[in-house]
């Protein structure tokens, strides 16, 4: 799943280019994707914000007398084996999910985009080296890298964020480079080059604004992957250490109760699905909106 969505984001769209007949329905679907995606993301963001001001219970507070309750009026999503409120934990778990997403995407964005632009503008050996290095990194499973990081630096949220972020750098570099190549072939850039504008200024004034849309799309897709990766790492015990609520770890802890108390697995599972689907749809919707081939070009 990760490869397809990433490839779609990096290379798929510019190549396909909509014909007149397909433009309209695709665009409408894009808007729908955008709306659904944005709403799901909003739900996650609101849950995280809400958890700062209010949760029904302290999600780290064990109440042994209330353990393993099915969803009821007091505990809306039930309680876990320590008697902790699952609803509160799901709310607060959104924080870690978003934090990891924001930081990981931030790292990938800040490292990958300049690298990609640089490679696209310089061409030649610099480009070759950068992009082949990105290919190598891309060929290395990001999750495996995160596990290696956790093994050598200890399991923590920070390790997970950095590992996921670094693993996402090549994706950004490729998107930025392919966008830059397109921009560099346009006439106004040729003109700017002829007037020997400094490279940095050119990158800032011409390249960056024109590839911004593609990069935003990449952000959204990477965010979805980061959410999934954080959940997977926490599930393996390599992410956020307990007792800070994390959806992945909640899933892991619910394993023993799949038969007797499926609610324990369902709620964090649905939360992960909502977040991942939300950011993916948002990415799809944004892509359809920003795609220069479909809006008739913005340059």
């Amino acid at each position: 799943m990760s490869t397809t969505s990433q490839q779609a984001a990096t290379e798929g769209r510019p190549a396909t280019g909509g014909s007149t007949s397909t433009r309209r329905p695709r665009r409408r679907r894009g808007t729908l994707n955008l709306r659904i995606g944005a709403s799901l993301v909003a739900v996650v963001v609101l849950a995280a914000l809400l958890s700062y001001v209010w949760t029904p219970f302290d999600p780290t507070q064990a109440m042994p007398s209330d353990r393993l309750q099915a969803p009821n009026a007091t505990h809306w999503f039930g309680t876990d084996k320590y008697g902790r409120d699952t609803f509160s934990a799901v709310l607060q778990g959104a924080r870690i999910t978003l934090l990891v997403g924001v930081v990981a995407v931030g790292i990938a964005l800040l490292v990958g985009t300049p690298l990609g632009i640089w490679a696209g503008m310089r061409r030649g050996a610099a480009e070759e080296v950068t992009m082949r290095f990105a290919d190598i990194l891309l060929a290395f499973p990001a999750l495996l890298m995160a596990i290696m990081f956790a093994a050598s630096f200890g399991a923590s949220t920070v390790t997970a964020m950095v590992a996921i972020g670094l693993g996402s750098v090549p994706g950004f570099a490729r998107v930025a480079r392919s966008g830059t190549l397109q921009v560099m072939s346009t006439e106004y850039v040729q003109a700017a080059r002829a007037s020997s504008q400094p490279a940095l200024r050119m990158a800032r004034r011409h390249v960056l604004p024109n590839i911004a849309g593609m990069v935003v799309v990449q952000c959204s897709v990477t965010f979805a992957l980061a959410v999934l990766a954080e959940a997977a790492l926490s599930f393996l015990g390599l992410g956020t250490p307990p007792p800070t609520p994390s959806w992945g770890r909640m899933l892991q802890e619910s394993q023993q109760f799949l038969d007797s108390m499926p609610a324990l697995a369902i709620f964090p599972g649905v939360a992960i699905a909502v977040a991942v689907l939300g950011f993916n749809l948002l990415g799809d919707g944004l892509r359809d909106r920003f795609d220069p081939k479909m809006t008739g070009g913005k340059s």
């Binding site: 780290t60 507070q61 064990a62 042994p64 353990r67 084996k81 320590y82 008697g83 902790r84 093994a151 200890g154 399991a155 015990g237 250490p241 307990p242 007792p243 394993q255 023993q256 109760f257 038969d259 007797s260």
Partner: protein, 509 residues
Amino acid sequence: MRRSIPALFASRLAALGLVSALALTACSAGSSNSSGGDAAAKDTLNVALTGEPVNLDFTTTAGAAIPQAMMSNVYEGLVQVDQEGKIQPLLATEWKVSEDRESYTFTLKEGVKFSNGADFTADDVKFSLDRVKSDAWKNGLKSKMDVVSSVKVDSPTQVTVTLSQPSQAWLYSMTTLVGAMFDESGVSDLANQPVGTGPYALGEWKRGEAITLKAREDYWGTKPGIPTVNLRYFADAVATTNALKSGDVDLVYNMQAPELLSGFEGDSKYQVLKGTSNGEIILSMNNKKAPFNDVRVRQAVMYAVDRQAVMDTAWAGLGTQVGGPVPTTDPYYEDLNSVYPHDVDKAKSLLKEAGAENLSITFSVPTRPYAQAVSEIVVSQLKEVGINAKIESAEFPAVWLDKVFTKHEYQMSVVLAVESRDVLTMFNNPDYYIGYDNSKIKADAAAADQADEAGYVQGMKKVVRQIVDDAAADTLFIFPNVVVGKAGLAGVPANSVTEALSLSGIAWK
């Protein structure tokens, strides 16, 4: 991009064909196996365990996994304990204790051979016991042999061990790993090639997967019920029970996911045994490091932690509440639950008195199921009294043994202490990772050991009470020995009263 429909259809059809072909071969393989497979299954026992040993040499490496697999199966001692905790003969047929209780004369069984073909004689006893006292042994448990002053070979089948003073604990220690008998020519590579007199010998060790034990043809005693035993190590507890359900393993010993028991209880295909063990879940506090170098802070923790609630939530209520670091099967056990009842106010006032309000500590939690389950509830209870414990997970065994156990770089930890009669190992040694100042118990412990049976029990009770009064560590509960296996197995030991998982008595009905 888009493929034509016929092409797509053709590829689907081909895939379908492939899948059905695979299914067919799987079926035929299955059916041909099940006729011959039953016979094969009777020859083999697959046991699921968690926590693979780092090597097979308990003389140099601490940790429960090694003696669990090796003792009673590959190695034997002169004496053993039965399921009731009584000492019985094994490689010695009998022994005489002198008037002054300082020398033991053992008569050895004849015709015993090591798995490398060498004969077991009195020389091997001397070699093995002397070796424990030499630098070759690095396991901290070797101190249990400190009391031995000399070992004398009287004849090939008779050996006399002289102690520097009478010791009640010594003969018991001889049933544990420090009493294991080695052959001088078989100790060159104990980490990979164990050589003992036991009913099994190491067949193969696939690291990260399984230890295969093969029954020995030349074993002196009753032949094991099942010739080949695979000890298979799983990453987590859920995987062990899944393996049992799918038929990959026959027995899950010391099952680490008590909440899953309900799926097996009442199912006639399985047997569920809830035995006791001599393992204590110890919430350890580094007595030598702030803030736990203050007895009041340690006592506050004892009051803050509701041990019954910990056992109920973390381990489905299975286990035994004891209140002190002594399992119920030890002769000097007494119920000490009332010393530190759950009392949040008392804990808070002790912390206030010690000037340790709003305390922040690091809680190093080994990556074992019981430890992770216990840690979350303990953290929650400590928070109630104003102790903010940050969980730091320590990979077990390697990282935990190195950081916590060896280098003592920790404040709080939790671990299952499985060595038998280990209270003095843990607390009568200030260099142990707990770092308890043993000045108040040292003399009493020595006196108890030298006393007669009754005096030993009384003296040890006094020692244990002192340890509990000083809040050296919090014994959360005695670990249950939960065993789930196929109903067709007989002779599965329910209680884990020794450090070993003795396999030779298990057989298919």
